[in-house]
């Protein structure tokens, strides 16, 4: 039995279970038992709102931490490459799936979402490494460069592209 702040003084049981679905998606299921009656939006609208918010925060924090841990792994590679390849520029590309944005505020569409996704990653990369920001750029390609037409989740992604500095290349060619 637990008592959660904002949920009243009546203790209740919590059940939780993970399931793995297709497309590498993990679902987390919570059941909140108020003595035979399980939490539902219709019967407990106020309590539902509170727990919904807690679950959204929980899911968001997992994704954020997971991204950070993945980026740290990538940074090790990037930092090594940066040492080895001083003549590279780093392009961070954001991609989305085909779902339409329904927001009236930014991002209003997948173009904005993909760019914001890329700039978010650039900020995390720069904050967690000694990378030279003059070699980094962010761009967005919206939904138009999918890698898997049958799996939308795979298309919501970031690609980090290491590109040789072309001006130096042209200089070598010209000389």
């Amino acid at each position: 039995m637990v008592e959660i702040k904002d949920m009243g003084k009546m203790p209740f049981n919590v059940f939780a279970r993970l399931t793995e679905g297709n497309n590498e998606i993990i679902s987390v299921h919570f059941g909140f038992d108020f003595g035979g009656s399980f939490l539902s939006k219709r019967e407990h609208p106020e309590k539902y709102k509170i727990m919904e918010s807690k679950i959204v925060d929980f899911a968001s924090s997992i994704v954020k931490d997971w991204i950070n841990s993945e980026l740290k792994n990538e940074e090790k590679i990037l930092n090594q490459l940066e040492k080895d390849q001083k003549d590279l520029e780093i392009l961070v590309e954001g991609h989305t799936d085909t779902d339409k944005m329904k927001s009236k505020s930014h991002p209003v569409d997948n173009w904005e979402l993909s760019v914001l996704r890329a700039t978010s990653v650039v900020k995390i990369m720069l904050a967690n490494s000694k990378m030279d920001p003059t070699t980094v750029s962010a761009s967005g390609r919206s939904q138009f460069a999918p890698i898997d037409l049958d799996n939308k989740s795979k298309n919501r992604r970031i690609e980090v592209v290491l590109i040789p500095k072309l001006d130096e290349l042209f200089e070598i060619i010209n000389n």
Partner: protein
Amino acid sequence: MKLLILISFAIICYSSHGQKAVVHEENFNFSASSNVNSLSVEIPYAQKDFVDSRLKKLLKGWGSIKRAKENIAR
């Protein structure tokens, strides 16, 4: 100089500037209670062990944990 390295990794940014986590209701079978209303959320790509450890931490913050088969019940 023709080196072009592509490092691709999938990222789901639904906290900032991305899809927001969506909680939905569905009937679910917990081992202790079957076909009951649950609040479910999808977490794409993150590893199961990673999510499991975070879930335990969340539940621990709410109180003590009792394991019931695959369920984490409290």
